[in-house]
Symmetry: none
Subunit: 119 residues, 2 copies
Amino acid sequence: MVMQQINPSSQPENLDAVFAALADPTRRAILTRLANGDASVSELAEPFHISQPAVSKHLKVLERAGLVERAIDKQRRPAQLKAEPMHEAVKWLEEFSKFWSSSFDQLDDLLEELKKSES
Amino acid sequence: MVMQQINPSSQPENLDAVFAALADPTRRAILTRLANGDASVSELAEPFHISQPAVSKHLKVLERAGLVERAIDKQRRPAQLKAEPMHEAVKWLEEFSKFWSSSFDQLDDLLEELKKSES
DNA sequence: TTGTTGCATAACCATATGGTTATATAAAAG
DNA sequence: CTTTTATATAACCATATGGTTATGCAACAA
């Protein structure tokens, strides 16, 4: 079983790719499935009722986001979950919520609107 | 080979839209800007160096995700942050991390902090 | 009334998705 | 050698993004 290092990048620029990868229900389901263990392309295609090339495409999107790595096992290319890049997404949400929770309340919004309407 | 429950949590329809909305750096910047207070289209366009129609398009994407609401103030259409849908994204990540316990300690910590700041 | 501001929308372009079927190829099975 | 299996890739289609410029329109400003 030879490992294949395809996308080790886990940088903030990758946030776009991570969020985009998570924006598809099939890909989220694939990730959840992979959380239960590695799976080959055909193993992934079966429960989702989509073609094998469709799964290969989804896996490419996930690979670009760094959320999946592929191995080589004879003819199979089992996909393996790599959740590190999800930390970036969580970190962004965390930063945002810090920022937002202090300033987001209905009173502040009302006051803001009032100030604008006064002018 | 029989697959059981692929997806642990039945997800709200617009989880797709929320993640997709967050997948663009300009939209994330717009959201951060709106966390400081409502802003009109032209106020948003200026710092991002993109055209006014481009901002209008981004706002439509954010509106469809439920992350932004528009007001009517004379000719202006100030955008207002609605962060609630982001909770869905956080919830999905939280559910996911439950399923994937291995080497997810860091993510668990981040999610804990997120839960605190949400309340 | 005329001009200006704020915004939406149309029209257009290039690229990415998300799916398909068809085909190519390598490895395993016979 | 032939066939089957597992996967990739090409070719194609429809739709969504992300940007532009052009244009229209309502609301203000003068």
